[in-house]
């Protein structure tokens, strides 16, 4: 039996064919059965979720107005603040942190009457593409438990794929929604930079981070995006433009669609099975009347190098706030506030430095995992005196060239189409000691973040080993409607998005 998508549930709930309590119970039961294997969630609070569901059912019964997500369970990546609750970013650093306020997206989910069912696992501070960088435990790919779900929104992707939530919120800094969506066989959208407020999102790389929806279908993503998008005075980089009614337009096909295929995305390193599935998907679009032309993005091959300078530079600056003073982890060895014996102990780390600096160093070294340290180091180096021009400024210039490639391409075509990841999901542990190999997995996704455009991953097939393959669609800034309509059009002609893993 296949599970209802979010929009199918909304129709059931609105028609009074089921209740939010029943829907929530069903998902809680599945979490209980399946999450011991998948480990997508960091925290689930069944009684809190059922209490929200009951309250919504009562209001529905009383004929009160309800929000767009009324009664629907939504899982949230554990990097969005929710007042009074933990937000860990899957890091020891924030293990005991409790948010003082709601992120704007969380406030919007609550206002839309969503049932917040749980918090999903991720790579620590959203840094990684495999979920293995979670400080707590790795999430497993529901299609093959020995494999990674992708990252960094791996928990969100895995929970939707294993039908433990109909919708999940993710964030995408270099592919962190699109890659796990592809590897887990679900639909995920990275909106235009600024389309969704970042207020209350724990920052990784502020000029690249963007929150987005993950679900079974393009229609589901339209629903969640409609709730989350919009200008926010608390985020001065959010775009002050009206939010289209994505749910109203998503079912309209795009007539005369002009697709662009990026020549550089079909070269060396692309797995032949992914290549085949993507080319087959392009033929599906042609059969629906789309015209296809090849476009060139001459700077595509520099995207990973550019990204892995800019993102770590921003991260090193953003993560300087974790000082063991204001919030977050503080080394236990420094509890004795400048008592003589502690100072002596601390002094052994860096001869001649201050007890305060020693406390910073100890707290950060004990609180951050290896990948976070690596990126802080890389960014600190690239921003340090003597290297700034050679690395950071150079990368910012190449970033403009990458953006110009997109501007030129979108002068000729409506959407770009291609692979999301070079291969299907790899094995847990396979690349953990090779950070560069891990970074190269982001080859096709990072450029959308650098340019600030919108991108999406939709299921388009399976490998011979039964692993999902994703198709990437990319659209110009603020063309999410076009993106969603293009994705929905594909999903009406195919059934890849309805496939479910067998979790016994």
């Amino acid at each position: 039996m296949t599970s209802f998508s979010a929009m199918q549930w909304v129709r059931q709930l609105t028609a009074g064919k089921t209740t939010s309590v029943d829907v929530t119970r069903e998902y809680l039961d599945r979490i209980k059965q399946r999450d011991t294997k998948v480990r997508a969630f960091l925290r689930v609070d069944p009684s809190a979720a059922l209490a929200q569901a009951e309250a919504i059912d009562r209001r529905r019964k009383a004929g009160k107005p309800l929000g767009l997500l009324a009664g629907l369970p939504v899982a949230v990546k554990d990097l969005l603040c929710a007042a009074g609750e933990p937000t860990t970013c899957a890091s020891r650093m924030l293990e005991n942190f409790r948010s003082p306020y709601d992120a704007t997206v969380v406030a919007k989910l609550k206002a839309a009457d969503a049932v917040l069912i749980g918090r999903t696992n991720m790579d620590e501070f959203a840094m990684g593409g495999s979920n293995e960088n979670s400080a707590f435990f790795p999430t497993h790919n529901p299609w093959d438990l020995s494999r990674i779900p992708g990252g960094s929104s791996g928990g969100s992707a895995a929970c939707v794929a294993s039908r433990m939530a109909p919708l999940a919120v993710g964030s995408d800094t270099g592919g962190s929604i699109r890659c796990p969506a592809a590897l887990c066989g679900i639909t995920g959208l990275k909106p235009t930079y600024g389309r969704v407020s970042r207020f209350g999102l724990v920052a990784f790389a502020s000029s690249l981070d963007q929150i987005g929806p993950m679900g079974q279908t393009a229609e589901d993503c339209a629903l969640l995006l409609e709730v989350m998008a919009g200008h926010d005075p608390k985020d001065s980089t959010s775009i002050d433009q009206p939010v289209p009614r994505y749910t109203q337009s998503v079912a309209k096909p795009l007539n005369g669609l002009r697709l662009g295929v990026v020549r550089e995305h079909f070269g060396e390193g692309l797995d032949p099975e992914v290549d085949l599935a993507v080319r087959e998907a392009i033929r599906v679009y042609q059969s629906l009347g789309a015209t296809v032309r090849e476009v060139s993005m001459p700077h595509a091959k520099y995207a990973v190098a550019t990204y892995y300078i800019i993102a770590p530079c921003e991260a090193s600056s953003n993560l300087a706030r974790y000082d063991g003073v204001h919030f977050g982890y503080r080394s236990k060895e420094e509890r004795g506030e400048a008592r003589g014996e502690d100072r002596e102990k601390a002094g052994s780390y860096f001869a001649g430095s201050s007890p305060l600096i020693d406390m910073y160093c100890r707290s950060r070294s004990e609180g951050f995992g290896d990948e976070v340290k690596r990126r802080i180091m890389l960014g600190t180096y690239a921003l340090s005196a003597g290297y700034y021009d050679a690395y950071y400024k150079k990368a910012l210039k190449v970033r403009r060239l990458i953006r110009q490639d997109f501007d030129q391409a979108f002068g000729q075509v409506d959407l770009l189409v291609g692979p999301v990841t070079p291969t299907p999901a790899f094995k847990l542990g396979e690349r953990i000691d090779d950070p560069l190999a891990m970074y190269l997995f982001d080859l096709y996704t990072v450029s959308a973040n650098l340019a600030g455009i919108a991108g999406m991953s939709i299921p388009c097939g399976f490998s011979s080993q039964g692993l999902p393959i994703g198709l990437q669609l990319q659209a110009p800034p603020l063309a999410e409607e076009r993106l969603l309509r293009g994705a929905a059009m594909f999903q009406r002609a195919t059934d890849w998005h309805t496939k479910e893993p067998n979790l016994g």
Binding site: G328, E337, R343, A346, S353, C361, F368, Y391, K397, Y439
Partner: protein, 96 residues
């Protein structure tokens, strides 16, 4: 450009991280690999290209200069790892 172990050690202090000898060795080799890969950017002539720090062409975003509610002291201190009734507590800034 490659990076030396001594540079990595210096950067770790700037980043307020203390790395063990074994971590320093591994970090030196991994950062070397990554920087070696990044060096391909030097193939590109970017003399005439303006840096792009941000995807949006915003200049300044202003709001009314009016007092707004903010976190009260207790809420702000609630997550402090070490505090007293009014302040964050930190170790001595200067050593002996």
């Amino acid at each position: 450009m490659s990076i030396s172990r001594a540079e990595v050690k210096k950067v770790s202090l700037l980043a307020r991280l203390s790395l063990s000898d074994e971590q320093l060795d591994r970090m030196t080799s991994q950062l070397g690999d990554i920087l070696g890969y990044v060096d391909q950017l030097s193939e590109l002539d970017t003399e005439q290209v303006e840096p792009m720090a941000h995807a949006l062409d915003f200049a300044n975003v202003f709001r009314a200069d009016a007092v707004q509610p903010s976190l009260d002291r207790e809420t702000a201190l609630a997550n402090a790892p070490h505090r007293d009734a009014e302040c964050y507590r930190v170790p001595a800034v200067l050593g002996e």
